[in-house]
């Protein structure tokens, strides 16, 4: 896909806009793409990055990523007009079918925030009320907050209190005691676990991460066991069965 633009929107956080036919195949928010980083054999594997926003008209999509290691650092050096080898869209994403007027609570942690943005937009289009609770490490790592605010109530916390409230997303939940019909979350596993435990009776969708190689369901790299021991398969592939699962489906 062609790079339409790339910019650093927070410390080590990059917003990348890509254009290509792949966009028209995206079915749901929460799907991801698998990017070839580097031209040769090192890095060898693709890198999974969530789709953050779709612009069907321009056949473009936005990804937001943090530079972690070799692959994402390489990616951050690519410039407008250059091409990137992208496989996707992959995975199943978040279900958005919901009655209008209902309330959805969207909870994101750090680099788990991006896929919630397209989700929020699509829910709003269906006249669903959205509430966002977003957690970041520190002020310099905060991004996309204004965009979320435009779509609905948005609560921001940082680990060190340098932006928004100090604390974790779960602290906000304790304080606010939101009334909601469905919860969506993406972020670090401990956060997802906490949410799963906190709302056993609710309809909760969690987007998971796992080390991948193929990203298409062929290699069995990204498997997690199901909670249900009687489950026919006993496992789910994060890449092709997920990355979004209903809370309780797989063991976190």
């Amino acid at each position: 896909m062609k790079i339409v633009s790339q910019k650093e929107i927070a410390k080590n956080i990059f917003q990348l806009i890509l254009q290509g036919k792949l966009v028209s195949e995206i079915e749901r928010p929460g799907q991801f793409v698998h990017m070839k980083v580097g031209e040769g054999i090192d890095p060898l594997l693709r890198r999974p990055i969530s789709i953050c926003e779709i612009d069907c008209e321009n056949q473009s999509m936005t990804c937001i990523y943090r530079t972690e290691g070799k692959g994402t650092t390489w990616l951050s050096k690519k410039q407008q007009g250059e091409y990137i080898n992208v496989l996707g869209p992959l995975g199943n994403g978040f279900p958005v079918q919901m009655k209008s007027g209902k309330v959805a609570l969207l909870i994101g942690g750090g680099i788990g925030v991006p896929p919630l943005y397209e989700l929020s937009k699509q829910l709003r289009n269906r006249d669903i009320q959205v509430i966002h609770v977003l957690g970041f490490r520190t002020k310099s790592a905060v991004f996309l907050t204004e965009e979320f605010q435009r779509l609905g109530d948005t609560y921001i916390v940082t680990d060190d209190g340098s932006y928004g409230e100090k604390g974790f997303v779960t602290d906000v939940l304790k304080q606010q005691n939101f009334d909601f019909d469905r919860l969506y979350a993406c972020g670090p596993t401990p956060m997802l676990k906490a949410l799963e435990q906190k709302f056993p009776e609710k309809e909760v969708y969690l987007s998971l991460e796992e080390r991948m190689s193929c990203g298409i369901g062929a290699c069995f790299a990204c498997v997690r066991p199901t909670k249900d021991r009687e489950d026919k398969k006993g496992y789910r592939k994060i890449c092709s069965d997920g990355p979004v699962f209903q809370a309780g489906e797989v063991i976190l």
Binding site: D42, E210, G217, C219, A221
Partner: protein, 312 residues
């Protein structure tokens, strides 16, 4: 595609390119990308008597020019493979090579006996080399007598030719090759992965939950080529070569080394279209190099003269 057809025990290959076991699942996912009938054959994921869940995650880690995997032979078990996967694959005009694994000789015999009856299974591939399973795996693949024994027992019950997949984690792979040939193997597939380890910078601990994993990808190619070169001069049964192939040039290098056909593993995980691409490119490469038939150059690295020989 005539310069491409290769006849091996049990296998009439349209072309010498096939996906390697474990890197193609049971073909389901790749069937969404292209028509599997264009492949020379398909090596399906290792099948065991009972379903296996495999190892905890992380199961993969990247290395310079390669990757480690410790999937742990996850598979739905013999019954499911026989009832679902193989019948589904029969819609494609392509021979299946069934990769079989187990922890005891009896395991191998049970799977071999049953799976070799599936109509589209044209050959077995005994995975005596998978380094990820605590029991069995290592010993079968590194002790010549044990390898010979399991080969013999499987040959006794199999309805189709038996290929044995060799592990590179040995001092002298020729001894292993000779042993399985003596055990009655119809062919050899090689190489499986080399045992490797990666540690996390922050914690100092292994990245893989299983600690070690099998190294595959471009990094291992020169080792694989060396081993095919050695084994092809040692045995009189054909070799399907693999280890780091990601281009037509790589494929041809294995043929030069002494392989009659080749399998592509890790590269499928990076580019799902790699097998069709290699098939197309290889045809052009042969054209460019004035090679009439792929089998003419099998073993060219060690055979005298330039062509006219056929492997083995």
């Amino acid at each position: 595609m005539n310069r491409f057809s290769v006849a091996l025990p049990g296998l009439q290959l349209k072309n010498p390119i096939m996906p390697a076991s474990g890197c193609f699942g049971f073909g389901r996912e790749f069937a969404e990308f292209y028509d599997l009938s264009i492949l020379g054959a398909i090596m399906i994921k290792a099948t065991t008597v009972e379903p296996r869940y495999g190892n905890p995650t992380p199961r993969v880690a990247e290395t310079p020019g390669g990757m480690l995997n410790a999937i742990g032979l996850q598979n739905p078990g013999l019954k499911k493979v026989m009832e679902e996967e193989l019948p589904r694959l029969s819609q494609f005009d392509v021979p299946i090579i069934a990769n079989i694994a187990g922890s005891t000789v009896e395991d191998y015999v049970s799977v071999a006996k049953e799976i070799s009856e599936a109509p589209n299974v044209h050959a077995l591939e005994l995975n005596i080399s998978c380094p990820n399973v605590k029991h069995g795996g290592i010993a079968f693949g590194t002790v010549p007598d044990v390898a010979k024994e399991v080969t013999k027992r499987v040959k006794n019950v199999s309805r189709v030719p038996v290929y044995v997949k060799l592990s590179p984690n040995v001092t002298d792979i020729r001894l292993m090759a000779k042993a399985v040939e003596d055990g009655g193997a119809d062919g050899i597939t090689m190489i499986n992965t080399l045992t490797g380890l990666r540690l996390d910078m922050k914690t100092g601990k292994p990245i893989l939950a299983n600690i070690t994993g099998g190294l595959s990808g471009p990094a291992i190619k020169p080792i694989a080529i060396r081993m095919v070169y050695e084994v092809s001069q040692t045995v009189n049964i054909p070799i399907i070569g693999m280890g780091g192939i990601s281009s037509a040039e790589d494929a041809l290098e294995f043929i030069y080394a002494g392989a009659s056909a080749v399998a592509v593993g890790t590269a499928n995980l990076i580019d799902p279209f790699i097998c069709p691409k290699i098939i197309t490119d290889l045809e052009q490469l042969l054209e460019k190099l004035n090679i009439d038939h792929i089998s003419d150059v099998c073993g060219r690295s060690w055979k005298h003269g330039i062509s006219g020989y056929h492997c083995p």
